[in-house]
């Protein structure tokens, strides 16, 4: 199955720019389906980006984040060719992880 995480990391001198698009329903638990039944909450609880053994970005999310979240941030201390590991866990015990090279 294809990864739910699409990521692009580019090195710009000392700064690495990261963009990621994650496929996830991010259901709030407040919406009803066409039958009138509540669609249970299903959302990413933690999203983590690690590089060279260190956490460079950690997000604790709740239901306010929309479907298929898009994240963009920059960090220092990495260079071209380094590995960037991305992982997430959700409230139903689901998870996914992927690694990308900084370009």
């Amino acid at each position: 199955m294809a990864s739910s995480i699409r990521v692009r990391a580019t090195s710009n001198g000392d700064i690495t720019e990261v963009q990621a698009l994650i496929q996830h329903p991010m259901d709030t638990g407040l919406v009803k389906d066409s039958k009138g039944e509540v669609i249970p909450a299903h959302f990413i609880q933690q999203l983590k980006f690690e590089c060279n053994g260190k956490d460079v970005f950690v997000a604790d999310w709740g239901t306010a984040v929309s479907k298929d979240p898009y994240v963009k941030f920059s960090f220092k201390g990495a260079k071209k060719g380094d590995d960037l590991k991305i992982s997430w866990t959700d409230n139903k015990g689901g998870s996914d992880t992927t690694t990308a090279k900084i370009a």
Binding site: R6, R8, Q19, A20, L21, Q23, S66, K67, D68, Y70, K72
Partner: protein
């Protein structure tokens, strides 16, 4: 008091009559002239927004607001329609149960042809949209049709639009009175007020592009279909042209028609034709 109001009324009616007489195209039974209509339509926007590059109109609200444009351009590096686009590419290549594929139903295998839709089918005597053609292809090959407004249909049209990106819209109106009637019908639909809110498509997209309706910036009608299908943040998902027509109707408190109703097909024909020459920018992302 009475004399003054009578004089005012008299002068007002005189002005109206004079105005009516001098307006060039007031006579009802004039010939349908799509070429002239398209030229007038495009010139209206080019003159109203002289700083907007002609091809930029297909980007809807982003052509009207610099801040929104910047945010959209950043997001285009990782656009929200990416998942639907990938799904559409895969679906397009997957054969039907009988072994045939979508490529067998379309010219050039269905690649790079989106800018030719909708077209007027002279055999049928009606406008045929891309979505209609796709479902007919499915049914002709023993497959169940898809919903016209979202999901699989939007993914398929997203892929087909993507293969045509940058190509100029190229809608043909054959020299057939039925085609001209369809164009005129679409034009009339576009300008007709409907719903309890009494809005026509023109109320927002001709009279107020670049202005706000509640928190949204209105798109110009010129090139408004070039970005279809779109991922709308409001929908948290993809939608086709039909989806937008249906929701627009509801928003003005008019009961929507069926997704491929004649009126919708005709207005799609009209709006696509008057955007001829402007590039396909689909699939698109909108707020």
């Amino acid at each position: 008091m009475k004399a003054r109001s009578a004089l005012l009324l008299g002068s007002l009616s005189a002005t109206l009559v004079a105005f009516a007489l001098t307006s060039p195209r007031v006579i009802a039974a004039d010939k349908v002239d799509p070429v002239a209509d398209a030229k007038a339509f495009q010139n209206f926007y080019f003159q109203k927004f002289p700083d907007v590059k002609h091809e930029d109109f297909v980007n809807g609200p982003y052509s009207m607001n610099e801040d929104m444009k910047r945010q959209w351009q950043e997001k285009e590096e990782f656009p929200p329609y990416e998942f639907a686009l990938d799904a559409g590419k895969e679906m397009f290549a997957t054969p039907f149960k009988n072994g045939k594929t979508y490529a067998d139903c379309f010219p050039n295998g269905g690649i790079g042809i989106r800018q030719n839709y909708p077209y007027f089918d002279t055999k049928e005597g009606k406008v045929v949209t891309l979505e209609l053609a796709l479902n007919r292809c499915r049914e002709a090959n023993g497959e169940a049709p898809y919903s016209y407004v979202k999901d699989e249909m939007a993914s398929l049209t997203a892929y087909m639009a993507f293969t045509s990106r940058g190509k100029p819209m190229d809608i043909k109106i054959p020299d057939d009175p039925r085609a001209l009637a369809a164009f005129e019908n679409g034009k009339r639909y576009f300008y007709t007020r409907r719903g309890q809110m009494n809005f026509s498509c023109a109320s927002c997209h001709v009279q107020s592009p670049g202005e706000r309706i509640r928190a949204e910036i209105l798109a110009p009608a010129l090139g408004i279909l070039n970005a279809m299908p779109i991922y709308r943040s409001e929908w948290s998902g993809m939608g086709t042209t039909s989806r937008r027509f249906v929701t627009c109707n509801s928003q003005t408190r008019a009961v929507p028609l069926e997704p491929q109703a004649d009126e919708y097909r005709d207005v799609e024909y009209f709006l696509s034709y008057v955007a001829n020459g402007l590039p396909i920018s689909g699939p698109g992302a909108r707020p």
